[in-house]
């Protein structure tokens, strides 16, 4: 990766344009139809650049980026799988890309069939009864799921249920989604072993509880073994169980959330179903529900008539409402649909298991260098709590009497930054908040043993470097286009657009 220091605006030369359009006939037409009072007052300062300027600029920008196609991401809770290329190709076929979202049903039967089959396949994989594919991201799915939960209680006249239980290890999105959905958050504690404390949960359950949000395996990568009992307790108080699908990958082909008693769940197609992360989106967050909640799904929805034709049901009385423009990120749904077809009923059986094996293998290979706070079989991910030997040394006096300054130890941040020098993405760090030096590692099933061994070697090398010379890590990364950015300055003196510079 090489440093390239231009912004597109800096390439601008007045009068250049990277696009041509035949417009002689309409020359000067706008002046005749837009009254002065409704017209834009000044020419927008968009870049004026040629096509080749644009191509070189964005090619140069791309070369400062790391992606799954560049290297391995051991990024906990993010499931950075390889993104198969056939999925990209089929999703951009013009027979899909040129469809207007309001086109008549008879003209989009192929597209509607994808929705229908995708819903059925996700239901088979998760043990839920029906899905909506309309939410555009995981957090959007989570919010949609909570809307369904509230709608369900309200339809039954159960107005008191305004609280939702969230474990202290939960992703930050859980409480945020609850708050946006108008629910109050009640926190349930984790035990020493990282699992939800069932004894702490019991007194929280009453007729004001709308439900509980669980991530299983949880954010420590541990399977909540007492989920059966938790489901019984929550259901007994009239609440519903929400499954945060962020950590679905280790269960893919092994365990179905519906069978564990979950009533509502979301999936992240960009995690479990291999669609590219796109540098932060677009993703897709389908929401699945148990039979009794099906009527509360958001609209529009695809249904199949007896003659096999597909129709769109737009909105109905019990529906939770409408959560996006049309029917979600169709282009992403196409990719995930292709992925499931390539797995099929045979290969899906290996997906979760191989991901889990890789995570346990890394954990066992590194636990003599990094603190393992919870000794247990993990699922697709696990956490370390920093280095065992961080290289810290107290101030001392040398034999000749000269004072030797204290040396600060290498932190989790330093380890993460040093990994970048070796061509790996950093793991997720300082999350979950249960430990101080959390390093959360998730390898996924798409990495070979050789790649994983290379990662392990580098992690061991970094641990040795830390013990020897923590300063080397503190200065890292050394081999990237830029060094550590000054985040404080960015926040204190915000420069948020080109003209602020």
């Amino acid at each position: 990766m090489k440093y390239y220091d231009k912004l597109i605006f800096e390439l601008s030369k007045e009068g250049r344009c990277g696009f041509s359009l035949d417009g002689k006939a309409s020359e000067g037409y706008l002046e005749s139809i837009i009254p002065q009072a409704l017209a834009r007052g000044s020419k927008p300062r968009l870049p004026e650049v040629s096509e080749v300027d644009v191509v070189r600029h964005y090619t140069n920008l791309s070369q400062m980026n790391f992606g799954v196609d560049t290297g391995f991401y051991p990024l906990g809770s993010c499931t950075m799988k390889y993104n198969p290329k056939i999925n990209e190709e089929v999703a951009s076929m013009s027979g899909f890309a040129a469809l207007h979202p309001l086109q008549d049903e008879e003209s989009v039967q192929g597209a509607l069939e994808v929705y229908w089959k995708m819903e059925k396949m996700l239901s088979a994989i998760t043990g839920m009864s029906a899905f909506t594919l309309n939410p555009c991201a995981g957090a959007h799915g989570e919010l949609t799921g909570l809307m369904i939960m509230r709608r369900y209680h309200l339809l039954r006249g159960d107005m008191k249920r305004t609280k939702v239980i969230v474990p202290d290890s939960a992703h930050g999105t859980n409480p945020a989604s609850a708050a946006v959905c108008g629910l109050d958050v009640v926190v349930v504690k984790s035990k020493e072993n990282g699992l939800v404390d069932v004894e702490d949960l019991k007194p929280l359950l009453n007729d004001e509880i709308a439900g509980i949000m669980m991530t299983n395996p949880n954010t420590l990568g541990l399977f909540e073994s007492e989920i059966g009992e938790i489901a019984d307790l929550v259901h007994a108080c009239g609440g519903l169980l929400y499954y945060d699908g962020a950590n679905m990958n280790p269960l893919l082909g092994v365990v179905r959330p519906g069978d564990m008693g979950f009533d509502i769940m979301h999936l992240n197609l960009h995690k479990t179903f291999s669609t590219p992360h796109g540098g932060g989106g677009p993703g897709s967050g389908p929401v699945g529900v148990a039979t009794r909640l099906e009527k509360c799904l958001p609209g529009p929805r695809v249904i199949q008539a007896e003659d096999g034709k597909f129709h769109i049901e737009h909105i109905w009385e019990e529906s939770a409402g409408r959560v996006s423009s049309f029917m979600g990120n169709f282009g992403i749904i196409l990719r995930a649909y292709a992925y499931i077809l390539s797995l099929g009923k045979e290969h899906i059986l290996n997906a979760g298991k191989f991901a889990t094996l890789s995570a346990n293998y890394i954990k066992e290979s590194l636990k003599d260098c990094y603190k393992l706070p919870i000794e247990r079989i993990c699922k697709h991910e696990f956490v370390f709590d920093g280095l065992i030997n961080d290289g810290a040394r107290p101030a001392s006096v040398a034999e000749d009497g000269t004072p030797v300054e204290a040396v600060a130890g290498a932190t989790t941040l330093d380890v993460a930054k040093r990994l970048l020098d070796y061509g790996f993405h950093a793991p997720t760090i300082y999350f979950p908040l249960l430990f101080h030096q959390t390093i959360m590692i998730e390898p996924t099933e798409t990495e070979s043993k050789e790649t994983i061994d290379a990662f392990i070697d580098v992690m061991r090398k970094i641990a040795a470097e830390a013990a020897e010379n923590p300063q080397l890590l503190k200065g890292a990364p050394h081999n990237t286009p830029i060094g550590r950015p000054d985040e404080t300055q960015a926040a204190r003196h915000p420069i948020l657009k080109y003209w602020d510079c």
Partner: protein
């Protein structure tokens, strides 16, 4: 690998899962397909979709996507990257988001833009919640009747759960009524008003005095706009609005049956701490080199948890890249041209439609690429007659009108054929 883990088989990895939860049946899925089979399957699915000549908009616009846009955006360094939390190896993503924010500010006339949102309607819903958090102890948001139906519905959905009361502002002659707005603001309980710049009839609304009226009542003024048109029509900034939202799809994104699209959201600088979503800012690295980072993260949901006023924790980054590349290619002249050619063709279609004697004029208001007419026959029959000949147009509206939209992609020949089709149809 199992040896190192100390297990005899893969099943042992799930010894902590109660046995009754291990799924032992066959998954109800098709057999695995090879790459070739997948391609053939998708081709077959495509054959059951009709590629139509699009003469409709209603929130999704068939503008031309220059070849360079998907060519560059599909570079896997962009598409397979994660969220740019590790700034040192994400300068590509961070730089184009910074450029995107700059471009959105320039188009909307606002000071600050976030890194993008899911789509236009959810951006409008976020603006409604933002208005609430900007104004203490107020709980009502007003929506113009002239907003697109999907915008009204999504805002209503969010509002219902978030404890926001929704009030509607009536339209008069195809434009948001100033009198109705003044009346609705009287209660003093209004946190925000959301009005379109170009409305669902295609009309360029005259928003003179609207932002002032909202401000005088202590409400936040939000403008929903078509960013493509902002190259030529008065901007939310020029109208004095506080927040601009909308859907970026019209900036060269393929229709793709409605998604992925990209929502945008920009505001005046005094609201920066209330703006949801990611924001990229400029800084320097340890050696003083210019660099870009995600910034002002204290606003974001993963920090605020249950105190959050938005739960968004991603953006539609790759689609923001589409927008950025598109706008770079177009420049001010190109984007103006797109508007000019589209408007010229749309006006020509409207004239020809009126000449057929099958329609009546409804509104005499300025418009660009989209307009409505009142059909003198059954709107559904009219729509169907076009569909049978491969045209998607004459979309029936709530009022029994039909709407049309023409972009630069439609030729004069396409327009003539559409007219011929109508003349020949038994309506």
């Amino acid at each position: 690998m199992l040896d190192r883990v100390g297990l005899p088989s893969l099943e042992g990895l799930y010894s902590d899962v109660p046995e009754r939860f291990i799924y032992s049946k066959e998954y109800d899925l098709p057999e695995a397909m090879t790459e070739q089979q997948i391609r053939e399957h998708f081709e077959e699915l495509c054959s059951r979709n009709s590629k139509l000549k699009i003469f409709a908009g209603a929130g999704a616009y068939d503008h031309y996507t220059p070849a360079v846009v998907p060519y560059l955006a599909s570079r896997s360094e962009f598409s397979t990257a994660y969220t740019p939390y590790q700034a040192e190896i994400s300068q590509g993503t961070l730089r184009y988001i910074f450029e995107y924010q700059s471009l959105i500010c320039e188009l909307t006339g606002m000071d600050i833009s976030n890194a993008s949102m899911y789509d236009g309607p959810t951006a409008a819903a976020e603006a409604a919640m933002m208005a609430l958090s900007c104004t203490k102890r107020k709980s009502k948001v007003l929506l113009s009747e002239t907003l697109l139906p999907q915008v009204r519905e999504v805002v209503r959905t969010y509002a219902g759960y978030h404890g926001i009361e929704i009030g509607m502002i009536a339209q008069k002659d195809g434009q948001t009524s100033a009198e109705a707005l003044a009346e609705a603001l009287e209660g003093g309980d209004v946190a925000g008003v959301i009005l379109p710049s170009i409305n669902r009839f295609g009309i360029i609304e005259d928003l003179s005095g609207f932002a002032d009226a909202a401000h005088a009542a202590g409400a936040v003024a939000v403008c929903y706009c078509d960013p493509s048109a902002l190259a030529v029509v008065r901007t939310p900034g020029e109208w004095g609005f506080d927040i601009a939202v909308g859907d970026g799809q019209s900036l060269g994104l393929p229709l793709c049956y409605g998604g992925p699209s990209v929502g945008f959201m920009a505001c005046r600088k005094d609201y920066v701490r209330k703006l949801p979503g990611r924001i990229v800012g400029q800084s320097v690295d340890a050696q003083g080199k210019r660099c870009f980072v995600l910034t002002l993260q204290a606003r974001e949901q993963h920090i605020r948890r249950e105190k959050a006023t938005s739960n968004i924790c991603s953006n539609q980054s790759l689609m923001a890249l589409y927008v950025t590349i598109y706008l770079s290619l177009m420049g001010p002249a190109g984007l103006r041209k797109v508007n000019e050619v589209s408007a010229f063709k749309a006006h020509s279609l409207r004239e020809k439609l009126l000449e057929t004697g099958l329609f009546e004029n409804v509104f005499d208001k300025p418009f660009l690429k989209e307009f409505v007419l009142k059909p003198l026959c059954d709107p559904n029959k009219l729509h169907k007659a076009l569909l049978d000949k491969g045209f998607f147009g004459a979309l029936p509206t709530e009022e029994g009108y039909v709407s049309f939209c023409v972009t630069e992609k439609r030729s004069a020949g396409d327009i003539d054929k559409l007219i011929e089709t109508l003349k020949e149809a038994q309506l």
